[in-house]
Symmetry: C2
Subunit: 235 residues, 2 copies
């Protein structure tokens, strides 16, 4: 008879934000109380094993609050990762067992990954100072714990799929008012496609939900650009 | 300190097929060797706890083969279900413990649900005879075990989303050659929208990937309709 597996289940949160040039992901550190060890493998996504009385969505909200202070972030499940080898790195295993004060050896963890698209705003400094959490550009992501690099890759592909079927989701990444250059940059960044700026300007005119405001950039060295807003009702 | 949960993990497969009128889902029976008990709660999706050496996708393929004989079915993960109360029905619990010969009490199971769109073909009879598995129209689904009714509902909504962003996926549900009436019926069924047949015929002309064949229905009482095929290269 085959051996059943009784793994732990975790949730991991991929928060993606846009810094004006490219997608960034919010990364935290593997920490144990009283340990400032800087091993190579100590970056990870915000995540945790789930507790007995928590539903999956609740666990995702709880861990995000614990590790980053962020609350009421709209997240959606996008994939479960359960490869038999995802705990293969012994240092990840040691950290896990210490962090959760586990008294027995972990065999497997299946993780349910959550995704959110959001604005990178002024909470940036607070995230860094109080939580040691930081936004890192996708192109500069270091080696992460477990299979978290694979999870981020899958998240980025998922965003490409989501925004291609529902372009309105792109505006989750932008500030309330934005320039055409900013929209152009975020569009290229999520679709992975390079689009000429003039052609993109024409494309914008075919988006009824992108509304030009009577307001321009101020205090810039180049010619001040108009601001636009996203009108959800027209999407 | 919060109590960590060490649940089992399962996979469940939602296979959706089209019978000419509406979506159907493939349902199996909760069985134990030597038990022909017909309790009300004995219908379920094909699914199983995962084994130690299996990845999630492998577990989904393995259980589908075991419970229905179907192999090489393209399935994709669509959602993880982990509500704390999904094992609330005692008869489900008893069945599980007997079926898997478990010696201890199950606290929780998180299930990873898979989805497939496929043709209902001549294997229908074999499924019924050899596996006691049957296609049941969505509108006639009985009470299923665990939260399987909720899983089917979520799958149907997912199909609506998938086919609205990628209409070519609708053809996964149709035979290789099909009539306009069949395409109309499947379209209404997956989108949940009622569309006038004449308007739909016009809509078909705007689908370059729907190609009319030099072949008509044979042996029908009404005026024989043309067959069409789906040309994936033009999608």
């Amino acid at each position: 008879m085959e051996r059943l597996v009784n793994p732990y289940v975790s949730v991991d949160c991929v928060l993606l934000g846009f810094d004006g040039t490219q997608l960034n992901v919010l990364i935290v550190r593997q920490k144990e109380s009283g340990n400032d060890d800087n091993s190579t493998n100590n970056y990870k996504l915000p995540g945790s094993l789930i507790y007995m009385d928590e539903n999956l969505d609740e666990a995702a909200q709880r861990v995000l609050k614990q590790l980053t202070g962020l609350v009421q972030i709209r997240m959606e499940q996008f994939h479960a990762f359960g490869n038999v080898k995802r705990l293969a790195n012994p240092s990840d295993m040691i950290w896990l067992e210490r962090f959760h004060h586990l008294e027995h050896h972990l065999e497997r963890i299946v993780t349910i990954a959550y995704l959110s698209l959001l604005r990178i705003d002024r909470k940036r400094e607070k995230l860094q100072k109080e939580y040691d959490a930081q936004w890192i550009p996708i192109s500069e992501i270091p080696q992460l714990a477990f299979d978290h690099n694979e999870i981020v890759d899958t998240a980025v592909k998922t965003v490409e799929r989501i925004t291609s079927s529902n372009p309105a989701r792109i505006f989750d990444l932008l500030p309330r008012k934005f320039t055409a250059a900013q929209l152009h940059a975020v569009y290229q960044s999520v679709t992975g496609k390079s689009v000429d700026f003039r052609n993109f300007h024409k494309k914008m005119q075919s988006m009824p939900y992108v509304v030009q405001l009577d307001e321009k950039e101020q205090g810039v060295n180049h010619r001040a650009a108009h601001y636009f807003k996203f009108d959800r009702k027209k999407a």
